[in-house]
């Protein structure tokens, strides 16, 4: 239960809604019990007397309790849902506050898009916590307590049996099934995972499977996995039905016991027979409230797991760093014996890299995909921590500076740049919230997007923009930010080469004296760079100016030779 402590804390923050929801829930439960109790009592009474008043009381009380129960139920639902959604909001904020400080590092480390989908899904699934995990047992406890206190007046045995019934149906059985679920739950997830992985292979690897004639084998394997997944699903479903039936059976058995004891007492003259029907109706009525407990084990386990996963993501504490401010003006950047290994990999992504990027210089980094270029950039900009070696800014180690001050000092264009739902203007404001329309339009002009209106709508992730437009917009953002260190990761790979050339020329022209580190997707135009770094397998295999590298007739020269051969 301690895994859910944080969620519980956030839920209880909504004191007013939660307590009101509980009050109305209890009222609704008690009213429905009272309704049945009164009908039982009044029928018994009516059987004995012939008074009209009895009849009037029947009608009045039934209406009163019925209406009371229905209205309380309505208020309860509204308030508990309100509290739940408020709690979800609090949870999002609390999670965001923990995630933000460690975000770029976590994102860089687990290069996986489903991390985010998982976070969102987990937060959403916690909406069941209040509604189906925390709240039903509490309401049930109060409804039973009220009912038990009432019956105590008539029959101690009934009260004891009801208490026993509560312990059985609202505590013991749900707890037992929650425990069983926890033990078995991994199996269904495992078989689902296996099926989903094989299905992905089947679909993504279809061409290879077809050509290598492995399709029918794969289909058979899929059929087996479907079988075993459905077997697990069936087990899970049956378990739920089982828990529900056991709970229902126990509830009825307790009512039976109450009837038996009541009948015995009545026959023995210890209990006035007038109350017997009422007690039976009370028992049947109060156990009608336990039906939400059938779903408890499933929701409890789901909430618990969601909470654990969310906790584990934000478990990382931000790196301890000194808080010095980066000096303004062009920076020199140096890598000293940098290395980095992604979690779960054995082969290092970067090995022992030492390079200097002097202040005001322009460097291009080239190399095959997977050679470590982007990882190098992430280390240079302090998004990922070096596993060995240091990054130096103006000769001082990056450990001395706060991440905020480092990021303030650089203009980054990454391979994936995020654009938010909103307008072009709101997306540019992220770079410089004080920029006016004129400055923004100027920046757009520099990236050849002058035709775009600042009011243009931008969809989630900039889906309505082409890849090249997104890249140019990212450069415009960097221009607006106006720092003196540029780190660009294949910034124009989706832009046509003529436009790309113009954009580069403007960048270099407008920002003379700034330091540029550019990962390039091709070799054209590298003559203008002060330094070219060639990477392969996480290592720098060559560096020097264009002329030097061509003269050396090494790797770069070889690449250039191929380029001569590449057709449009």
């Amino acid at each position: 239960m301690k895994e859910l402590a944080q969620v519980l804390k956030l839920t209880i923050l909504e004191k007013r809604d939660v307590s009101l929801a509980i009050i109305f829930g209890v009222l609704a439960g008690l009213a429905s019990v009272a309704l049945l109790a009164s009908s039982g009592y009044l029928i018994s009474k009516a059987a004995l007397t012939g008074q009209m008043t009895v009849l009037i009381v029947i009608g009045a009380s039934l209406k009163l309790f019925g209406l009371g129960s229905a209205i309380s139920r309505y208020a309860e639902r509204l308030l508990s849902h309100r509290a739940t959604f408020t709690m979800l909001g609090n949870l999002r904020v609390a999670f965001f506050e923990k995630l933000a400080p460690v975000a770029p590092e976590i994102y860089g480390k687990y290069r996986s898009g489903d991390l985010l989908a998982r976070i969102i899904g987990d937060v959403e699934s916690l909406q069941n916590f209040l509604l189906r995990v925390f709240y039903p047992p509490v309401v049930l406890l109060l409804v039973f307590t009220g009912t038990i206190l009432f019956t105590l007046y008539f029959s101690v045995y009934t009260a004891i049996l009801l208490a026993l019934g509560y312990l059985l149906t609202a505590v013991a059985v749900p707890a037992y099934f929650a425990w069983r679920k926890r033990r078995k739950d991994w199996r269904i997830r495992e078989s689902r995972g296996a099926l989903s992985a094989e299905a992905a292979e089947f679909l993504y690897g279809f061409r290879e499977l077809k050509i290598y004639q492995q399709l029918s084998g794969k289909e058979q394997l899929l059929a087996q996995l479907i079988d075993s997944y459905h077997e697990e699903q069936r087990n899970e479903g049956e378990e739920e039905v089982y828990s529900q039936s056991i709970n229902g059976l126990f509830a009825l058995l307790v009512s039976l016991a109450i009837l038996a004891v009541g009948a015995y007492s009545t026959a023995a003259g210890d209990l006035n027979g007038l109350y017997l029907a009422m007690l039976v109706m009370i028992s049947l009525g109060v156990f009608e409230n336990i039906s939400p407990m059938a779903a408890f084990p499933g929701h409890f386990e789901e909430s618990r797991k969601a909470a654990v996963r969310l906790e584990s993501i934000v478990d990382e504490t931000p790196r301890k760093k000194k808080m010095a401010e980066l000096p303004p003006g062009p920076l020199s950047v140096s890598a000293r014996n940098l290395s980095y290994v992604f979690p779960g990999e054995q082969r290092p992504a970067l090995k022992n890299i030492t390079i200097d990027f002097p202040a005001g210089s322009r460097t291009a980094v080239v190399g095959p995909s997977g050679s470590g270029k982007s990882t190098l950039l992430a280390l240079l900009m302090d998004v990922l921590p070096a596993h060995g070696g240091h990054v130096l800014y103006n000769g001082r180690t990056s450990e001395d500076f706060s991440q905020e001050s480092i990021w303030r000092g650089l203009n980054a264009v990454l391979q994936e740049n995020h654009f938010f739902y909103g307008t072009l203007r709101s997306n540019l404001h992220i770079a410089d919230s004080s920029a006016d329309d004129g400055e923004m339009i100027a920046a757009l002009n520099k990236v050849e997007l002058g035709g775009f209106s600042l009011d243009m709508e931008v969809e989630e992730k900039g889906q309505n923009l082409s890849g090249g437009e997104r890249q140019r917009l990212a450069i415009a953002r960097a221009i607006l930010k106006g720092s003196a260190l540029w780190l660009l990761d294949e910034p124009v790979s989706s832009v046509d080469s003529a436009t790309g050339r113009i954009i580069y020329e403007r960048l270099f022209e407008d920002n003379r004296g700034d330091t540029f580190i550019i990962i390039s997707h091709d070799l054209a135009g590298l003559e203008k760079m002060d330094q070219i770094i060639v990477m392969d397998h996480g290592e720098v295999i060559e560096s020097g100016s264009y002329g030097e590298l061509m003269e050396r007739k090494g790797y770069f020269h070889g690449l250039k030779e191929i380029e001569q051969q590449v057709m449009a």
Binding site: S39, L62, S69, A197, G237
Partner: protein
């Protein structure tokens, strides 16, 4: 909803069981009420001793057990039915995917298909496991209860007959209004709930621009707006439950009044009947309300089933094959005669005629979007021909055996797929035989991956693909090359890399293709001048048509568009 219902009612055995168990449950519900009442009636009205009513208690116990057991079996049957139907749907989907020739091409939308197979199918679960059992119970049990009530007191039965229909009517009215409201707010709701994801996805960007602090308020605000809009929608849904509950309460109230009148004023109803009715009537209305909530569950399944239905309704045109075997000793002679390929009524390739002699080297060139990859897929036998014929050694390809054809073929694409498994398994997939370690090592050596494999602690056993270690694009291509060396194909389809930043892979590819081509016909989507120059025949594609065909020398002087494609010998400014 009709489709799903049809699927459910195909399960005759399960449906039969559901009906039988519903009848049993109804009977035991009635029995339970009877014996409850008999016990109370016995000791309270008739003044019997405990021993005298003891048999009723036993009978009650049995009724309770039967009732629990029958509802357990109903639940189980629902689960079972859901499992069976879902399995059928998944198998059907996989069959339909396997017959979809486009699956090997870019239009395949594989991610969407995986989610269809996994999530959409699971979303239909509630329909079978909850809604159908509830539906059958709702047809049977209330009816049984009604008959019993009529037998005890026909006026009560009449009151139920008048009031009960209000429940489905109101349910429909309010349900419709709720849906309208939900649709109206849909966009707004999606927007608010999307904000959190949007901010999380953009967190790196926000941090780099020093803007993350402001986002807290944005999340707060959108969460609040989301809550208020949702509550708005929920209000009308809750109002519907309120109405339903009120109607049933009102009916129970009226019935109680009527029963009371007869009991007190007219004195023509026994305590037994009155109590009996008062126990049965709430059960009756609970049954109807349960059906209402099951109906909501079913609605969630309908959208998913719609998606599945659309997917399964798609027309598949798999490639047709015959029985004829090909000689494996030498490459076949491949001829295209006026081959066309269209998809969704749009011509991707038209009127392609080719003559590919054994051991020849063919280069396919053209701008992106000109149909090069489509042509390769048709050559490979992955896409069907809409018009025209492909002749293999003079026989129509539709007549030769699929196994025989694919046994001769290797396809080295720009992004070969690595399966989850070891490097060894990924190379061994190249052949149908069980290759020896030596054969695999030899293939790996020729494909230039030995160095990579040796650098890994687990060597050939290193896990790659999904869940395994990541390999770079060049390394993947070399694994695909090793597959080809193991297979020793007669026809090789090769997609040359567009970018040339991986010198090692580039060199290996060149050498390997030269070696493989000694024993095979090689058809290349070419991006390198030397490849094109060395080809026996260059096929120039434009908008899905062959616009020129010939050797480099033949095309170079005469065909303008070809010259445009040739590499510029100077690099411009930095691109």
């Amino acid at each position: 909803m009709k489709d799903l219902k049809g699927l459910a009612f195909e399960q005759k055995k399960q449906i039969g069981l559901l009906i039988a168990m519903s009848v049993l449950k109804g009977a035991s519900t009635i029995g339970q009420a009877v014996f409850f009442v008999l016990v109370v009636d016995g000791v309270f009205i008739k003044g019997r001793s405990f021993e005298e009513i003891l048999p009723f208690l036993y009978a009650l116990l049995i009724s309770i057990i039967i009732r629990s057991l029958s509802s357990y079996i109903i639940g189980r049957t629902g689960v079972e039915m859901a499992a069976v139907v879902k399995k059928q749907m998944r198998m059907k989907l996989i069959r339909s995917f396997a017959e979809d020739p486009l699956l090997s091409s870019a239009e395949s939308h594989s991610g969407r298909k995986v989610s269809l197979l996994m999530d959409a199918v699971d979303e239909t679960d509630g329909f079978f496991s909850k809604y159908i059992p509830q539906l059958i119970q709702s047809y049977i049990i209330p009816l049984m209860l009604l008959v019993v009530v009529f037998s005890q007191n026909w006026t009560t039965g009449l009151i139920i007959l008048v009031t009960a229909p209000f429940i489905p009517v109101f349910m429909a009215i309010v349900g419709k209004r709720t849906k309208e409201k939900a649709d109206e707010k849909m966009e707004q709701l999606n927007r608010f709930s999307g904000t959190f994801l949007d901010i999380l996805q953009g967190l790196t960007t926000l941090r780099l621009f020093g803007q993350s602090k402001k986002q807290k308020e944005k999340i707060e605000e959108s969460s609040k707006n989301f809550r208020d809009s949702t509550i708005d929608v929920l209000k009308s849904a809750f109002l519907s439950s309120l109405t339903l509950e009120y109607i049933s309460m009102l009916s129970i109230g009226i019935i109680a009044l009527e029963v009371g009148l007869r009991l007190v004023v007219f004195d023509n109803l026994s305590f037994f009947s009155a109590f009996f009715i008062m126990i049965l009537v709430p059960d009756f209305f609970t049954m109807l309300k349960d059906f209402g909530s099951a109906f909501h569950t079913a609605r969630g399944s309908v959208a998913a089933s719609q998606l599945l239905h659309e997917e399964l309704a798609k027309e598949r045109k798999p490639v047709a094959w015959g029985e004829m075997e090909l000689p494996e000793s030498m490459p076949p002679h491949i001829r295209f005669e006026k081959v066309c390929f269209s998809y969704n009524d749009e011509f991707r390739l038209s009127d392609i005629s080719l003559d590919i002699k054994p051991y020849s080297k063919i280069a396919i060139i053209g701008k992106s979007g000109s149909g090069k990859t489509t042509l390769m897929h048709i050559l490979a036998g992955l896409l069907p021909v809409s018009e025209g014929d492909i002749l293999i050694d003079g026989k129509r390809r539709n007549d030769i055996s699929e196994t025989g054809w694919f046994n001769q073929l290797s396809y080295i694409s720009q992004s070969p797929y690595l399966f989850a498994g070891s490097i060894k398994e990924n190379i061994a997939i190249g052949t149908n035989r069980e290759p020896t370690q030596e054969e695999i090592a030899e293939a790996a050596e020729k494909a230039g991956v030995t160095e990579l494999i040796d650098s890994l602690p687990q060597g050939y056993g290193t896990l790659v693909g999904e869940g395994g270690r990541g390999l770079s694009g060049g390394e993947k291509q070399r694994i695909a090359l090793a597959r080809a060396f193991l297979k020793k194909p007669n026809v090789i389809l090769f997609d040359e890399p567009t970018t040339g930043l991986d010198l090692h892979t580039e060199m290996i590819l060149q050498q390997s293709l030269a070696e493989l081509s000694k024993k095979a016909t090689v058809i290349t989507v070419a991006h390198r001048l030397h490849t094109v120059r060395a080809s026996d025949n260059i096929v120039f594609l434009q908008n899905g048509k062959v616009v020129a065909c010939g050797t480099h020398e033949e095309l170079a002087g005469e065909f303008g568009p070809y010259e445009e494609l040739l590499p510029l010998q100077q690099g411009g400014a930095m691109r």
